[in-house]
Each structure stands twice: as C-alpha cells, then as structure tokens.
Amino acid sequence: MLQSSAPASRSSAMLVALRGVAKTFPNGTQALAGLDFEVRQGEFVSLLGPSGCGKSTALRIVAGLSEPTAGAVEWVERTDKTERRSRIGFVFQEPTLMPWANVRDNVRLPLKLAGARGGEAAARVEAALERVGLVAFAGAYPRELSGGMRMRVSIARALVTEPELLLMDEPFAALDEITRFALNDDLLQMWQALRMTIVFVTHSVFESVYLSSRIAVMSPRPGRIVTELAGDAPYPRGREFRTSAEYAGQCRRASDALGRAVAGGGR
C-alpha cells in the first residue's frame, strides 16, 4: 500500500543525493530552491511534478550537465567526474539520435567516445540492441523508424555502457498510449534484469505509479520535493496491475498529492 513519506526500500544504501540544491538561471529564473533528494541503490524513483517545476533541471544536475547555484551533489563514494560518466546513462525527452548515423552506430556512440575497442564494442552494441528488440533494424537510419523505435534506440544507447544509474527525462511523453505502455513494460523488465537504479522524470501520475518503487512529488517553480510516496506493489507489474483497484487507489493518492503540491506550493 501507499504511504506518505515512507521510503520504499529502507534497507538499500544511498547512491547519490542532492542536498539543499538551488538553481537560478542567468536570466533570473529560479528553477530549484532547497531541493533535497536521495536516490537509493536499485530503486525506480520518479520525480513527479507539474510542467516547468524544475524536474529536468534536477535531473541535469544529477548528470553533471548543469551545476547547482547552491547546495551539493553527493555520490556514495567519492568519485570524480570522469568515473561518474561511465556510471550514468541519460535518456532525453526526444530520442536525440544522430540522423546521419544508422541505429548500430548511434548505439555504439558512448563506447566510441570512451575509446572502446572494436570487437568488444560490437558485442555490447548487439547485446543492447537485443535488449530493446531492434537487432533487425541495426542498419536502419533514425528517420526510417517510428517514434517508439527511435526511443528504443535511445534507451539502447544509454544502456550500452551498462550504467549503474539511468536518468530519464520524460522519455515517453511524446508517444501514443499503446507504444508508451509497451515501453513501460519493457523498461521495468530491463530494470529488473540489469539491477540498475532509475530516476524517471514525468508529469504523468499514471506512469509514475505504474513504474515506480518511490515517487517524489515536486512543487511548482522554484521546485523542491514536497511529498514522497512509496509504490510498494510487487514487481513484476503488468496488465493486471494496471487494471487493479490497488493501482487506481494509488493513482488517486498520487494525484491528490500532486494537486496539493500545485495548489499550496507544497505547504
């Protein structure tokens, strides 16, 4: 059942945390203020919040793509930026593929940039393509694929380095419902198979409840975490969970929490 402010898996250790993070952009926009957010090893945590609440900014700060104006990003072991790179995968809102390269070369990119050798890299690319079911399309160009397939390529690329932490920024927002449901299920399967940690940014209550083992609800700008909800329905989750009364109840509670966050600025 869903309880407010109760961590999903108390036992698991912290992987990375944002401590009192604030971000003010040069144009004066205050995106985040006093954001405290812990990511624990092996969890599937969603950042749920209204559009423009700074969810994506928080994710970019975790990835090291953006520096906080105040506060700190704390990693479990002291690692420098170079080491951290190999531990993070990032999936953007758009597939963000190189249009001039075919699927295989797009997926290989992170390995190529890391200077990996040909034979081993090729095997890892094949494995990543297999995971997302696109082996048959390895030679296709992005424009020849559907939106859902492009997003699968994007996920394969993020997974090819076998990251410890996968950061996803509203990856399925632009897809139709059927494709989104299929990708939700595939993502959960990969998460369990690869035992990685996922931070998933979304503004969809239904998606966050379906996927997450924990939901962090954010207030409107300047964003901070106002409530945490545990999604402790057992995995694997599938169609049955999506149509269960338990799911509907959790969605209602998450929706209420989001409503309160939007209305009261979180208070």
Binding site: E94, T96, L109, L113, R143
Partner: protein
C-alpha cells in the same frame, strides 16, 4: 527513383524534362526565323545554325580555351572549399580568431571582384590572378554556410557528448562536422557557380593584355574582331560549363544526404 511511382509522378518527371526542351526548340526556331526574315547580318546577330557551325569549326581553339577556364574554375573551387571549411572550423574553435578575421572575410566578399581583378593582375601572374579571383568569390558562401551548420548542432546531442566526456576534437569530428554537412554542401553548390564567375571576371579584366586564353578571353577577343558567331559559341560553352558544375554538385549533395537528410528525400513517406 522509387520503384512504386504513380502514373502521375511519372508524367510529372517526363514533363520536367520535356517542357524545357520544347521551350529551347521554340526559342531557337524564333531566333532563326527573325534573323532570316529581317536579313540580319551575322556580325550583328548570327543565326543559331551559324553559331553551331562556328562552334564545330573553331572547336580546336574553343576547346583549348574551355579547358583553361575549366581548370581555373575547378582549382578555384577546390581552394575555396578547403579555405571556406577550414576557416569555418577555425572560427568555430576559436572566438579570438573569428573576431580578428571575420570582418576581413566580409570585406573580401562585398568588394566586387571585377574591381579587385585589375589590381591583382598588377602584382600576380595572370593564371594566378585568375585563380585568386575565383577563390575570393567562391570561398565566402562556403564559410558562411559551414559556420551556420557548425552552430546548428542539436543541443541535446551536445549534452550527450558532454555527458560522455568527449574531447573537442571528437565533438568536432563526430558531431559538429556531420551536423554541418548539409549546410556545407549548400555552400559548395553556390561556390561552384561563383568560382566560374570569378574566373571569367578576372579573364575579362585581363582583357587583350592577357597572355591566357580562357573562354572569357575568347569572348573579349572575338568582340574586338567583330567575330560575333564565335562570341556566341564561347558564351554557350560557358553556360554549359556552369550547368555541368551545378548538376555535378547537386548529385554529390544528393548522394551524401539521401539516407538521412530531409532535403534529399523524395516522394511520400
């Protein structure tokens, strides 16, 4: 050429070839008729048949000149391509160099080449001067377009490269240059035509004093001798050269982009 072209598409394709040919035939017929009807002498306006005969009769001379002009144009074009892309990359990598040199690239571009040519002829051997003129006119569109392309990189892709810690060189080679390719090719298509313009402008500026024997030189020379049919013949060769350059570069563009860029795609999707 997609195998599943509809009858309408096929008719469209045929019309695109047939219609210009019909217009050409009509134009030539009217030209021929006007010259005959008014008994215009060939030193004022030669009829198309005479121009054609002159082209064949003077081929040894004109063919030689064509080769000279063509060589200069191709050399000028290649240097412009190398210079334009090279400068664009340099400007992209270093702001200081861009700030220092960009205004002078603009000055070179906006000063009419026909006005620069006589000066160049004072200091340089004629073939070199012609080449420099071709380069001056042609490099700027390559520079401007490539610069635009290098600055039009998808920001998320840029973030992705940053996330994986790509070096500047890797970003340039794997991200910026491929992103810029469609723009670069557009610049090169303009440069191809312009390098011919530059070569011709310099040859004409050299005029009768010139030791070279390009097509533009032939036109000026034939003008002095009132050999109007040969002027037309040389002009036609220049036009054909321009057309061939344009379509050759269009083909390169198509071959390089057909798999991935919107501009090179055709038909329904």
């Amino acid at each position: 050429m997609s195998p599943a072209a509809s009858p309408r598409e096929r008719r469209d394709r045929v019309l695109r070839v047939v219609l210009p040919v019909v217009v050409l035939a009509l134009g030539l017929a009217i030209w021929e008729a006007v010259v005959r009807a008014w008994h215009i002498p060939p030193y004022v306006l030669p009829d198309p048949v005479l121009v054609w005969r002159t082209l064949l009769a003077d081929w040894s001379l004109l063919g030689q000149s064509l080769l000279v002009t063509l060589t200069t144009t191709v050399e000028g074009f290649l240097l412009a391509a190398a210079g334009g892309v090279g400068l664009a990359v340099l400007f992209n990598q270093s702001r200081l160099i861009e700030y220092s040199l960009y205004p002078y690239a603009v000055i070179l571009q906006v000063t009419p080449v026909i006005a620069i040519a006589p000066l160049l002829l004072v200091y340089l051997q004629q073939p070199t001067a012609v080449l420099v003129c071709a380069w001056i006119v042609a490099f700027f569109p390559v520079l401007a377009n490539t610069t635009l392309g290098l600055n039009s990189v998808d920001r998320n892709l840029g973030d992705l490269f940053a996330l994986y810690g790509a070096s500047r060189l890797k970003v340039l080679w794997n991200l910026k240059l491929p992103s810029a390719l469609p723009y670069m090719l557009a610049g090169l298509r303009i440069a191809g035509g312009l390098s011919l313009v530059g070569a011709v402008a310099a040859e004409i500026a050299a005029g009768s004093a010139g030791a070279g024997s390009g097509l533009a030189f032939r036109i000026t020379e034939s003008g002095y001798r009132l050999n109007i049919p040969r002027m037309f013949a040389a002009l036609i060769l220049l036009s054909v050269t321009g057309i061939v350059i344009f379509y050759a570069l269009a083909l390169v563009n198509y071959l390089a982009l057909r798999r991935w860029h919107e501009s090179a795609l055709q038909g329904e999707r």
